[in-house]
């Protein structure tokens, strides 16, 4: 915990960030945040950074297809794909899909998990019993196969993949938040609020929720990684959104175009490295968080 809350920020956003208690002093967390910042800038300014349209089929000046170029050839930083598309531009645009999938899935997982945990932990009884049996069921569903089937049956779109992931992944967050709420519920200040006549809603929102936000954020940051990895697998298997350029799509394209046999490492190594960087960033941040929330583990 930070020793002294020196300045209490006034504005809503600043207060929100403060309540998340980002452990910026931890080197792992800092590294994670810097990586996120890097890809965030890349995603936001993708049209400015990318030299080409990622799905435009390019031709050379003498009207030949600019396909299978090696890095540096004709000014293509990472070369081109078999269809004559610029690989570097695809990497840059892929950051958009990755962050979009990662952040929305993480938000949904953290939100559903927190609500379930709060309700189950605070009200107990049959609410708890029903919600925790639902969590048991979610633990029994094989995650990737479930997302594959949902993504394949409905319109292939990023949102179906994200929703399918959120439908299963809330389970871990829900269980952890529930046990945290169980211990918070019997704290003195919560008792005091109850005795002074605060409503259940007010106690949950004012006195309990602020204390579980860091935990929600921890599980959210882990979910970012899971979501990006899963979306990559879905795209690789060919069930992804055909309109979105994602790193998983690039890998599928490379695999299907025999890039492995032709040793076109410049084509399939960069998307993999980009995924590793973003997903590790989530792990690094969650590690810093664990040290902060559970000091015993941080040795």
């Amino acid at each position: 915990m930070p020793e002294t809350p020196a300045v209490v920020p006034r504005s809503g956003i600043a207060r929100f960030f403060n309540s998340m208690q980002l452990p910026v002093g931890d080197p792992f967390t800092l590294a994670g945040l810097i990586i996120y910042g890097f890809f965030f800038v890349m995603a936001v300014f993708a049209p400015l950074i990318a030299p080409y349209d990622p799905i435009e089929i390019l031709y050379t000046s003498d009207y030949d297809l600019a396909s299978d170029l090696f890095p540096g050839e004709r000014g293509h930083i990472l070369g081109t794909t078999s269809l004559g598309r610029d690989i570097f531009s695809q990497i840059v645009w892929g950051a958009r899909s990755a962050l979009l999938v990662g952040l929305t899935a993480a938000f949904m997982v953290a939100f559903i998990g927190s609500v379930v945990g709060l309700l189950a932990g605070y009200f107990g009884g049959w609410v708890d019993a029903v919600l925790m049996r639902l969590a048991d069921i979610a633990f029994g569903i094989p995650f990737l196969p479930f997302v594959i089937v949902i993504s394949a049956f409905f319109e292939p779109s990023i949102w179906n993949t994200v929703i399918a992931m959120a439908l299963v992944l809330w389970r871990d967050t829900g269980r952890v938040i529930r046990s945290q709420v169980l211990s918070l519920r019997s704290r003195g200040y919560v008792e005091a609020a109850r005795v002074s006549g605060s409503s259940d809603l007010k106690i949950i929102l004012r006195h309990i929720t602020p204390n579980i936000l860091p935990l929600s954020f921890l599980y959210g940051s882990i979910a970012i990684g899971w979501a990006i990895l899963t979306e990559a697998s879905i795209s690789f298997l060919g069930f992804g959104d055909p309109d979105a350029i994602s790193w998983g799509f690039m890998l599928q394209d490379a695999f299907a175009s025999q890039a492995l046999a032709r040793q076109a490492y410049h084509w399939f190594i960069p998307p993999g490295l980009a995924i590793i960087l973003v997903v590790s960033a989530g792990f690094f941040i969650s590690r810093g968080y664990e040290d902060l929330l559970f000091p015993k583990l941080g040795r």
Partner: protein, 325 residues
């Protein structure tokens, strides 16, 4: 008695979860958009023929009736007929299950053997440069897409160096008298090597990190201090008193890993054209072969659910402090 009751409760919960997953599976495949027989019905079929097929598959009955037929069939081990192969789904699944299990268990055994040793070693090297360099690498292996790792290994060891075959379980045209002969042949093992290595590299992170943090905990316990004071050699302290006790929770996680691995298999089997349940699920979904997809999904779910139970029970048995009271 006291150990029997939690086992009973857990087993009942397992049945409940199994029933729920089976029901979700039914709804998923029955309520999806489109005609479930689209892949089966040839465009040249007459309307009467189509009607007959719909009746034959029981699709003219109400959803509830279909649901009960489905449950009763499942209880009898009846998984229906594959649209593509026109053979019972169960036969197909039993044919592929051994391949998936061999891949899963061989990779996990390698991953756990390595992870336990490396984790204990890193705990011993705590605070050193080795540790500082190794930890981010381990975290990065957890952040890799498994199929990408498979692609890289394939490109290097198969296409560039030519040391290993690029896919399948054996060379074309080879024949073996028995399954046992096949599974122990050099041909099969060389096909197994790369997918096994891919999954092992991906899975070693969990046992490694668990072992490391458990070792750090255990080495501070009184009985380890006691062993040190008794003047036992550092080897005896670290291995006999430390590692042995730190290993128990790691072994419990093996069951959970089997469940996770089966899901990861889906992509890795696809990369290496390994004829297993995961690859079959993907190709069945793509080809709209719904009975087969349903069967493969169910088989994976059953293993995941049973492994969750095994992990739970092992946890209770190994650590008497945990109870389900």
């Amino acid at each position: 008695m006291s150990t029997l009751k939690p086992i009973l409760i857990r087993t009942l919960q397992l049945v409940l979860v199994l029933w729920a997953v089976v029901t979700i599976l039914f709804l998923m495949f029955r309520l999806m958009p489109g005609n479930p027989l689209a892949a089966y019905i040839d465009p040249t079929f007459t309307a009467e023929q189509q009607e007959a097929l719909i009746r034959q598959f029981g699709l003219d009955k109400s959803l509830l009736q279909q649901y009960f037929t489905y449950l009763i069939n499942l209880l009898q081990g009846e998984l229906g007929y594959s649209f593509r192969y026109r053979t019972p789904v169960a036969d197909r699944i039993w044919l592929l299950l051994p391949n998936t299990l061999i891949l899963t268990f061989s990779s996990l055994i390698v991953a756990y053997a390595f992870g336990i040793f490396a984790g204990a070693f890193l705990a011993w090297k705590r605070g050193s440069r080795t540790e500082a360099a190794a930890l981010p690498v381990v975290l990065a292996t957890r952040a890799m897409p498994e199929f990408w790792l498979g692609m890289v290994l394939l490109a290097i060891f198969s296409f560039s160096l030519g040391w290993f075959p690029a896919g399948g379980t054996r060379s074309a045209g080879t024949h073996y008298e028995s399954l046992w002969q096949l599974y122990t042949s050099a041909n099969f093992l060389s096909h197994l090597a790369l997918p096994m290595l891919t999954l092992a590299i991906y899975s070693q992170g969990l046992p490694l990190l668990l072992m490391r943090s458990n070792m750090l905990d255990v080495m501070n316990e009184d009985f380890v201090t006691m062993a040190r004071i008794k003047g036992l050699s550092p080897y005896a302290v670290v291995i006999r008193h430390g590692a042995r006790n730190a290993m128990l929770p790691v072994m419990t996680s093996f069951a959970i890993s089997v469940g996770y691995q089966l899901q990861g298999n889906v992509v890795v089997e696809t990369v290496f054209s390994w004829p297993g349940l995961g690859r079959e699920l993907v190709s069945a979904v793509s080809a709209a072969d719904y009975p087969l997809a349903q069967g493969a999904f169910l088989m994976i779910a059953v293993v995941v659910i049973i492994m969750n139970l095994v992990a739970d029970l092992l946890y209770t048995l190994l650590d008497p402090r945990i109870s389900y009271a």
